[in-house]
Amino acid sequence: MRSLKVSALTIAATALFAFSAAAADGPGVSYGQKISEADVKALDIDVSTSTGAGLPAGSGTVADGAKIYAEKCVACHGEGANGGSMYGPMHGGIGSFVTPKRKLTPGSMYPYAPILFDYIRRAMPMDSPQSLNDNEVYALTAYIYSLNGLVKEDAVLDAKSLAAIKMPNKDGFVVDDRPDVKAVRCMADCTKIKP
């Protein structure tokens, strides 16, 4: 009898705790509509660029990329991706990061080759994003990497061959390790702001 009483109390206390915990940690309601992964397919455009997961089927050649580039990209990025009316060059710069003038291009900067595919597919051409099919995106990616000397002129890129490209800046990144500066709260006779 006694033990029963204790359990009842314990149950009541637990229920009360559960209620207050819900109020503190969550809304206590759920309004999300259940869907499946298939329902998100049209939006699911991202590539996990370090592995290439998310790269679609299809392929493209450097030659096809050059043609598409001449039609849809050259106005802003210039002939041969040398830089155009809006944006700077998209090739070169490999090795420049140890000089005072770092030149950032897909070839010099991207640690993983699928980054270019992901970016073109989601955002380019700027005046008509997401209008290219996957073969066209592979072709443009092949063309830009060929200008950077990272694939041969007869290259055909697909999910496998794109993810296999070795990028010069693969080991160029360090993860945030700040605070990296330890300033002192000096009040008198301090080093001036511009020493």
Binding site: G26, P27, V29, Y31, G32, Q33, K34, I35, S36, E37, D39, V40, D44, I45, D46, V47, S48, T49, S50, M86, Y87, F97, V98, K101, R102, L104, Y110, P111, Y112, I115, D118, Y119, R122, A123, M126, P129, Q130, G172, F173, V174, V175, D176, R178, P179, D180, V181, K182, A183, V184, R185, C186, M187, A188, D189, C190, T191, K192, I193, K194, P195
Partner: protein
């Protein structure tokens, strides 16, 4: 391209005697601004000349403007000089991937009005019908979900004050003077009260799968801007918001829905949020490799440097203004930290040789703009003024020289949180003195 050269306060009558250099001299005399200067001197106990009689205002002598049946109220026409301006220091050649900066020299209090909140876009400003907007949550979750705006707005909402700052704030002015005003040097900074729901609620509802460590946030703009964010920050204080300063978000700030990641660089608070995907590793997209990374020594780059570290700046007097004469000058400015609360702000008037603690104005809120004030009796000689903030983690705002020792300040450098000096000439003119 905005080229408006509003270099200062624009209105001497409420400037506390600090005037924009560009102010027309005759208007300046007529407006009584000189008297403001005189009364500043009066604050030091110097006798003022007789100031003349006070007239009946014209507005007493007629009916005012009719009351419209419905209207969205706008600022006075006399405040038309207070605008958000695109940079004319670093000029982009197109009008879609660019930024527009808050006139901090005009901001009163800690909340930035919605029409002046800074902007950064990667493909222009979409115009989204909230009835058509859907947020999808999927990936490494037990149950993928979608939410309409009305689904989201049924939750018990929370409202929180947080600053937001672009990682590129100040990138034009590290080792050379490029900008004139504090709007140009620090205007990729704003603060608002945000209304929405904790992201943790939505992720809990979907149920995180084992091994979930990173979350992709993706926008519905023309760049489908996306960033990878660690799960710990998502489950901590990250919000999904639709409200900003008491109304729905403005289109340029993500209407109808955006992420709000307190204290972190603005671009991770993805606007026009359409999709949240849970994964086990970061995506390493262009926006987190080729952009929004920091050059480091030996040709390296620092990645995922998302916290905006402790920083402060004097907004008055600041670049482009003029102090009318010796006497009391009310120095004021902002301090903020992505790592906590502001615990102290110090002010120097001698270029950093000596510092005095400024007054902090309530409220002092975690990851929010904090106002500081310091009353300075200017002797009329050349001076160099600056502020230095300390936050609740104990971090002291560094100088450019401090940062220069550990990072590579070359090119387009983000995360400039250094002490920012302004020079004061004997003429009273205030100018950028970063270098």
């Amino acid at each position: 391209m905005a080229k408006d050269k509003d270099n200062g306060l624009g209105d001497g009558r409420r400037s506390g005697g600090v005037l924009p250099v560009s102010e027309d001299r005759r208007a300046f005399l007529k407006s009584g601004a000189l008297l403001a200067g005189a009364s500043a001197a009066g604050g030091l106990g110097i006798a003022t000349a007789h100031a003349g009689s006070v007239k009946v205002p014209e507005s007493n002598l007629s009916m005012g403007r009719e009351i419209p049946a419905k209207i969205y109220g706008m600022p006075s026409k006399y405040e038309a000089h207070v605008t958000r301006n695109r940079t004319d220091v670093f000029v982009n050649k197109q009008n879609w991937s660019d930024w527009s900066m808050t006139p901090l020299q005009h901001q009163l209090g800690i909340v930035t009005p919605n029409g002046l909140f800074y902007e950064r876009h990667h493909a222009g400003i979409p115009d989204i019908n909230p009835d058509d907007h859907t947020l999808a949550v999927h990936g490494m979750v037990k149950q993928p979900l979608k939410f309409s705006m009305s689904d989201l707005m049924r939750y018990p909402a929370v409202s929180k004050f947080y600053f937001m700052e672009c990682s590129g704030n100040g990138l034009t002015d590290w080792k050379a003077v490029k900008s004139t005003t504090v709007q140009q040097t620090h205007g990729l900074l704003s603060c608002a009260q945000w209304t929405g729901v904790p992201l943790s609620w939505l992720l809990d509802e979907a149920g995180l799968a084992d091994g979930a460590k990173w979350v992709l946030l993706e926008g519905a703009d023309g760049s489908a801007h996306a960033r990878s964010v660690p799960i710990d920050k998502c489950m901590d204080d990250t919000l999904i918001v639709w409200g900003m300063n008491g109304e729905m978000l403005r289109p340029e700030n993500g209407y109808p829905l955006r992420a709000l990641i307190p204290g972190w660089e603005g671009n991770v608070s993805v606007k026009w949020l359409r999709r949240i995907k849970v994964g086990d590793k970061p995506w390493h997209l262009r926006s987190e490799t080729a952009r929004y990374t920091d050059p480091m020594p030996d040709g390296k780059w620092r990645q995922f440097s998302m916290v905006m570290e402790c920083k402060s700046v004097i907004t008055r007097p600041s670049g482009g203004m003029k102090i009318p004469g010796p006497g009391r000058v009310e120095i004021e400015g902002f301090a903020w930290s992505g790592n906590g609360k502001i615990t102290a702000v110090d002010v120097t008037v001698d270029g950093g040789k000596t510092w005095r603690e400024a007054r902090l104005e309530e409220p002092v809120i975690d990851k929010c703009l904090t106002r500081f004030r310091y009353s300075w009796d200017w002797d009329g000689g050349p001076a160099e003024i600056a502020s230095r903030a300390v936050d609740s983690s104990g971090y002291v705002q560094p100088t450019v020289a401090d940062i220069d020792k550990v990072r590579a300040i070359v090119g387009f450098v983000q995360h400039h949180n250094a002490v920012f000096p302004w020079s004061v000439a004997s003429s009273g003119e205030v100018a950028n003195a970063i270098a």
